[in-house]
Symmetry: C2
Subunit: 212 residues, 2 copies
C-alpha cells in the first residue's frame, strides 16, 4: 500500500463525506490530491476501486460504533446498546451509513467486492451473536438467531431508509423516539393474543410469544 494511494483514499473519503456520491468525481478527487485525474489511475484501477475503499472505511467506522456496545455487562444491555449505536451512527454520519447500503450498480459495479461482502457478513454475524446471547439469557424467544436477527436488521434498516429519504416527514428527535417505539413493537409483537396463537399453530417454527 503506497503512500500516494493512502493520500488518495484520505482525499476520497473527505470528498465523499463532503459532496456525496453524486458530487464525487475523479477530477475533483485529483484536484484535492493535487494531481491530474489520469494520475489517479496509477494507484487505483478506476472510480469503483476508490469507492470500494471508501466503503471499507465506512464499514470500519460503523464497526467501531457497534463494538462499543459489547463492553456492557449483560446481554440485554449489549443488545440495546448495539441498537442505540446503530441509530447513532446512521444519524451522526448519514453519508457513511448510506454508502453501506448502496446497490452495486449505483457504484458502477456489477457485484460488491469480496472484502466488502465479508465485512457485511461480519456485521450480520454481530447481530446474530447479540440475538443468540439474548435467547440464552431468556430475554428473546428461542429460535434460529439468524432469522430473528434478520427480522430486526430489516426493520431497523427499513425505518432508517424511509427516514433518510424523506418518506417520514419528521425531525431527528422525533425519529429517535419513533425508532425506539417501533423496536419495542417489533419485540413485543403487534398481534392480539388470539391471533398470535392462531399464527403460532400454523407456523410451528415461529417464535410463539404465547405459552400459558
Amino acid at each position: 500500500m503506497s503512500y500516494q494511494r493512502e493520500k488518495i483514499l484520505a482525499a476520497a473519503v473527505e470528498l465523499y463525506l463532503q459532496d456525496g456520491l453524486d458530487g464525487f468525481s475523479m477530477r475533483k478527487l485529483a484536484k484535492q490530491v493535487g494531481v491530474t485525474a489520469p494520475a489517479l489511475y496509477r494507484h487505483y484501477a478506476g472510480k469503483e476501486a476508490v469507492l470500494a475503499d471508501v466503503m471499507r472505511e465506512a464499514h470500519r467506522a460503523f464497526m467501531s460504533y457497534l463494538y462499543r456496545a459489547i463492553e456492557a455487562p449483560t446481554p440485554r444491555e449489549r443488545f440495546q446498546g448495539a441498537g442505540e449505536r446503530y441509530l447513532d451512527f446512521a444519524l451522526e454520519h448519514p453519508r457513511w451509513h448510506a454508502i453501506l447500503y448502496f446497490a452495486p450498480e449505483q457504484l458502477g459495479m456489477v457485484e460488491l467486492p469480496a472484502h466488502i461482502e465479508a465485512m457485511s457478513s461480519a456485521r450480520h454475524q454481530f447481530w446474530i451473536d447479540r440475538v443468540r446471547e439474548c435467547m440464552d439469557a431468556g430475554i428473546l424467544e428461542d429460535g434460529d438467531p439468524t432469522q430473528t436477527a434478520l427480522t430486526l436488521w430489516a426493520h431497523a434498516h427499513g425505518l432508517l431508509q424511509l427516514y433518510r429519504q424523506g418518506h417520514l416527514q419528521i425531525g431527528e428527535s422525533e425519529f429517535r423516539a419513533l425508532f425506539e417505539e417501533s423496536g419495542v413493537r417489533l419485540i413485543c409483537g403487534i398481534a392480539t393474543d388470539a391471533f398470535a396463537h392462531e399464527l403460532a399453530e400454523r407456523y410451528v417454527d415461529a417464535p410463539t410469544a404465547t405459552e400459558a
Copy 2:
C-alpha cells in the same frame, strides 16, 4: 398533455425498465422517440421531470397491485393479501419497485415532487387502513394504526432492500418463504413473555402482547 409528451413518457418508461436508472439518458430517450435530445426539452423541463413522470407510472402500477387485495371479504384477508401483492410487485417488477424508493438526489432532485409525495402518502394511508380494520376486527392489538403500519412497512421495505441489494445470498423462492416467516415473527413478537411484560411496563403506550 400533448401527444408528443405521452409518446416521450411511454418511451421513457420502456427505456427505464430496460436499461435501469444508470442506463437512462436523454440522448438514448430521444433516439427511441425518433428525435434529437434537445427536442425533448420542448415537452419536459429536464431529465428529472421525465423521471418524475416515470415514478408516477410506477406508483400507479404499484397501486393497481395493492388495490387488488381489498376485494377480499375479511380484514385479515385484505391485510394478508396486500402483503402478498406487495411482495409480488417487488419481485415481478424490481425496477418499478426500485424507483419508488430512490433517494431524490439519485434522480437529480433536491426534493421529491409534490404529486409523488402525495402518492407515497396515499400508499402509507392504504396500510394504515388495513391495520386499522384489523385492529377493529380484534386481530391486531389496539394502538395507533399509523405507528403500527409504519413498523410493518419498514420491516417489509427493509427486507426487500436487503434482498435486492444482495445482502441476503438466497434465491427468490427462499426469499418468499423468509419474507413470510419474518412477517409472522414481527406480528407475534420475538420476546419471551417475561421480557415483553417488562417492556410493556416501561412503554405504556406500546402494544403489550400480554394480558392473561
